[in-house]
């Protein structure tokens, strides 16, 4: 594998209960890339991230750079509300040193008064930050980020995407981001994969997100695309 190559996916096929969820997807991730994945609900975006993490069986090739450290931000954790875990309790499950715990919490902008709060009582924006903090423990080189379908709250001075951008710079992260927000695709990523069970388009957002491709990806309903200036 070439030096700057982090991940190579070739002719990836994923089946679940006899149904094809990802059909013949190939792409590469280079060091420092910010790649977004877009597509309608049920298009296989979350399945793709889980497959890349080795959580699901697949056919085809997934090769990660050797000894790469991957951080994963899941879409949501519905069961966590059933467990009395404070913010600190939860992050300690990943066994960080106290120093790392503190640094991580600082880097996602968590104030001291939130540390002892129950995770179930956090706002959705705070919870998102908590999940990002989780993914940053153990110093990952790659971040797989699954955005919740409900979108992300805008709260405080820094949006989650600004935070991601900042973390990407300061930690030299390579990011693969599932999103529902087309504006994020333009501002954040250098590459986009349009997925609707099979790849619909791939490449630079400005080039491949044409009205025609978006219509193909989402059907008739999409009204948001960037006008050419």
């Amino acid at each position: 594998m070439k030096d700057d190559l982090v991940l190579r996916v070739k002719e990836l096929n994923v089946e679940m209960e006899g149904e094809t969820v990802i059909n013949n997807l190939s792409f590469e991730l280079k060091k420092g890339d910010a790649v977004t994945i877009i597509g309608p609900n049920g298009a296989g975006k979350t399945v793709l991230l889980k497959t890349l993490l080795g959580l699901l069986p697949y056919k085809g090739e997934i090769s990660w750079k050797e000894n790469i450290r991957i951080g994963y931000v899941p879409q949501r954790l519905p069961f966590i509300k059933d467990i009395p875990l404070s913010v600190k309790d939860f992050l300690r499950l990943k066994k960080p040193s106290e120093k790392e715990l503190e640094e991580t919490l600082n880097s996602v902008g968590f104030k001291q008064n939130l540390l002892d709060k129950k995770t179930g009582d956090l706002s959705s924006g705070q919870f998102q930050r908590l999940l990002i903090a989780w993914s940053l423990i153990k110093d990952p080189q790659v971040l797989l980020f699954d955005e919740p379908t409900t979108g992300i709250d805008i709260e405080g001075e820094e949006t989650v995407y600004r935070l991601l951008e900042r973390l990407k710079e300061s930690r030299e992260l390579t990011v693969l981001l599932v999103t529902h927000d087309l504006s994020v695709v333009y501002t954040f990523s250098n590459n986009v994969i349009c997925l609707n069970r099979q790849p619909v388009c791939q490449g630079l957002p400005q080039e491949v997100l044409t009205p025609k491709n978006l219509e193909k990806l989402y059907g008739e309903e999409v009204k948001y695309y960037r006008h050419k200036h």
């Binding site: 991957i70 994963y72 069961f79 467990i83 875990l85 404070s86 309790d89 990943k94 129950k118």
Partner: protein, 253 residues
């Protein structure tokens, strides 16, 4: 050593450890699983009573059998686990009543800790200590599995291995629990302390510590009350637990 002291020792150990394990089971919405498994021990208890050997010894293989059957049927039928436990435990109870000596049914159903022997007590206490240490060791990992199996797997955790160990711990606790509170009430021994403490806790330490304290206190006072009132200890332990639960509900934060 007086028999009261022995039953108090065994009771508090089993009560505390069952409550500790119960916090994990509640986190996973599995608190009631101990119920069917407890019922399923009835044929084993019946055998133990007929042939005069230790109740827990009779119960244990049946709990294991129950867990294996539930696991197999789930794999085969894809029916929800709670529905399968209903199938399994009812069958267990039905079989037991074919040959359970009716004069001793009470001991099987609500337990009888008052006659525990010294050897029994030592074995129970040692087993419970081992279970306690094992739970302590796997607690953080199991909590992560309870939060999200995907997240646990992405950390390289062998979830199947931990699940197996966890089920084994449940089996041991249920087998010893039936001796204290009987097959009908074992679920409560596991579930109620965890429910009470969840009402009151905001973090892991409060949750776990609270459950153990409630488990120990309820078993201890239930057995003492039994000594003075003449009622069986099992139901009294559970009633003390119920009172603690009701109090915790009014104090819920």
């Amino acid at each position: 050593m007086s028999s009261l002291l022995l039953s108090l020792t065994v009771g508090t150990f089993v009560g505390g450890v069952a409550a500790y394990l119960g916090t994990l089971m509640l986190s996973r919405k599995m608190a009631l699983v101990a119920g069917p498994l407890g019922h399923l021990t009835l044929p084993g208890i019946a055998l133990a009573l007929v042939y005069g050997f230790d109740i827990s010894l009779g119960a244990f293989p049946f709990v294991i059998l129950g867990i294996v059957l539930i696991w197999l049927f789930e794999l085969k039928t894809k029916l929800p686990m709670e529905a399968l436990t209903a199938v399994i435990f009812a069958s267990g109870v039905a079989i037991a009543f074919l040959f359970l000596p009716i004069g001793q049914a009470e001991a099987a159903l609500v337990g009888d800790i008052s006659t525990v022997s010294l050897l029994d007590s030592i074995i129970s206490v040692v087993l419970m200590a081992l279970v306690f240490l094992t739970i302590m060791k796997i607690y953080p990992t199991m909590t992560l599995v309870n939060v999200s199996e995907d997240l646990a797997k992405s950390q390289g955790i062998n979830v199947k291995k931990y699940n197996f160990l966890y089920l084994l711990l449940i089996a041991i606790v249920v087998a010893l629990g039936v001796k204290v509170v009987g097959s009908l009430l074992t679920a409560a021994l596991v579930a109620i302390p965890a429910c009470s403490t969840r009402n009151l806790s905001r973090n892991m330490i409060q949750y776990v510590f609270g459950a153990i304290v409630f488990g120990v206190v309820s078993s201890f006072s239930g057995i003492l009350l039994s000594e003075f009132s003449g009622f069986p200890a099992g139901p009294l332990i559970i009633l003390v637990n119920a009172v603690i639960f009701l109090t915790s509900t009014t104090l819920k934060r």
